[in-house]
């Protein structure tokens, strides 16, 4: 190995190390941002329950509106994180940076929504979510959905969560099949 080759090898190792470090640093921060948004969501629920206990209808409505808006921002943040992961896997650093910006923007929207500043875009996302048909089979599919009504607490959100899980499983094309029994 010549001196020149050694230099090139050393330089490339340094570059690879730096690239790996910058690549890994973005998702860790991003996961931290996602955690921050979820924390804000819990705060919004605490505000809603306090309003409910107070019994003032206007306050309950306002707290509910803010809570829904925070959840919509959280959904956007989760989408951005997913995009970031995909871009990272494909080695597309521009897309990683762009998704990172989107995630930061979602965090800002969640903070604003908690304080009552709800941008039109988020208000529209909440309206779409509320308007979407519920529990009639995700995306209007014809198969019989499993009974997801008996989930604990009877929460719409948990019900949608399980129903979406089932829909994704169905979309994957994998079906539970009988396996042949082992001959004794």
């Amino acid at each position: 190995m010549t001196k020149q080759t050694v230099k090139i090898f050393a330089a490339s190792m340094v570059c690879a190390f730096c690239a790996a470090e910058s690549l890994a640093a973005v998702p860790a921060d991003a996961a931290g941002d996602l955690a921050a948004i979820a924390t804000i969501s819990v705060q919004a629920k605490a505000n809603l329950s306090n309003a409910a206990l107070g019994g003032n209808v206007d306050e309950i409505t306002e707290a509910g509106k803010r809570s829904d808006a925070v959840d919509a921002a959280m959904a956007q943040g989760q989408d951005a994180y997913l995009s970031m992961e995909r871009a990272d896997q494909n080695g597309d650093q521009d897309a990683v940076a762009s998704a990172s910006e989107d995630l930061k923007s979602s965090l800002a929207k969640a903070v604003n929504a908690l304080n009552g500043v709800i941008p039109d875009e988020i208000a529209q996302a909440v309206a779409r979510q509320k308007k979407a048909p519920k529990n009639t089979g995700v995306k209007g599919r014809s198969y019989d959905v499993p009974n997801v009504y008996d989930v604990p607490w009877n929460s719409d959100r948990m019900r949608d969560f399980y129903q979406n899980h089932f829909a994704n499983f169905w979309d994957s094309g994998i079906r539970p099949q009988d396996s042949e029994t082992t001959p004794e």
């Binding site: 190390f17 790996a20 470090e21 890994a24 640093a25 998702p27 860790a28 921060d29 996961a31 931290g32 996602l34 955690a35 921050a36 979820a38 924390t39 969501s41 819990v42 705060q43 629920k45 605490a46 809603l48 329950s49 306090n50 409910a52 206990l53 019994g55 309950i60 509910g64 809570s67 959840d71 959280m74 604990p152 607490w153 009877n154 929460s155 719409d156 959100r157 948990m158 969560f161």
Partner: protein, 188 residues
């Protein structure tokens, strides 16, 4: 294979446990690290305040529980809520302790990168503590609504509690994600 495990073990130990190498005392120097450190301190402060509020709510909750008749149809609900509150109280306490431990290691970290990672861990763990403490508060609000027979509030609070539990598990999940991403960074 064994060497890989040692490297990963070392990285994890450097990040989360007792440092295996001699570290130089330093202040959180770089502006980015300083910003994360300040954010982590603020997060710990907020989490402490919420844990204290949860502690007060628990003390009050014990009295409220006595007001609910044992044959109340909502008693099974109350039992589940108490269980959820108890679990989240433990999470809040443990996470606050963990956040403080991580924050205490920022000043003695061997370099800015490690310091930044400790600060990030402290910040996110403080978030876990804060959300756990708030779940406890919501749970106690639910018990208060039942004890004081505010039937119209019970349904709203029940749904809020379920959603808060789902969001709180997201916070915990992302904390674990941050931990593994940082560990992966040092095992490369």
């Amino acid at each position: 294979m064994i060497r890989d495990r040692i490297i990963i073990g070392f990285a994890v130990a450097v990040c989360f446990g007792t440092s295996l190498v001699a570290v130089e005392a330093q202040e959180a120097g770089a502006p980015a690290v300083k910003a994360v450190f300040e954010a982590s301190q603020a997060a710990i402060h907020d989490a402490e305040a919420e844990v204290e509020k949860a502690r007060v709510a628990i003390a009050k909750g014990k009295e409220l529980l006595a007001l609910i008749p044992e044959d109340s149809p909502l008693m099974p609900d109350v039992a589940q809520v108490v269980e959820a509150a108890s679990e989240n109280w433990q999470i809040a306490i443990d996470s606050l302790k963990g956040a403080k431990e991580s924050a205490s290691k920022v000043a003695t970290a061997s370099n800015d990168s490690v310091a930044g990672d400790y600060a990030l861990l402290a910040k996110v763990n403080a978030g876990v503590a804060l959300s756990g403490a708030q779940v406890v508060q919501i749970a106690l609000t639910y018990i208060e609504a039942i004890a004081t027979e505010q039937t119209e509030s019970v349904d709203i609070i029940r749904t809020a509690l379920q959603d808060a539990l789902a969001s709180s598990s997201q916070v915990q999940f992302n904390y674990e994600r941050v931990k593994s991403l940082i560990a992966a960074k040092y095992s490369k």
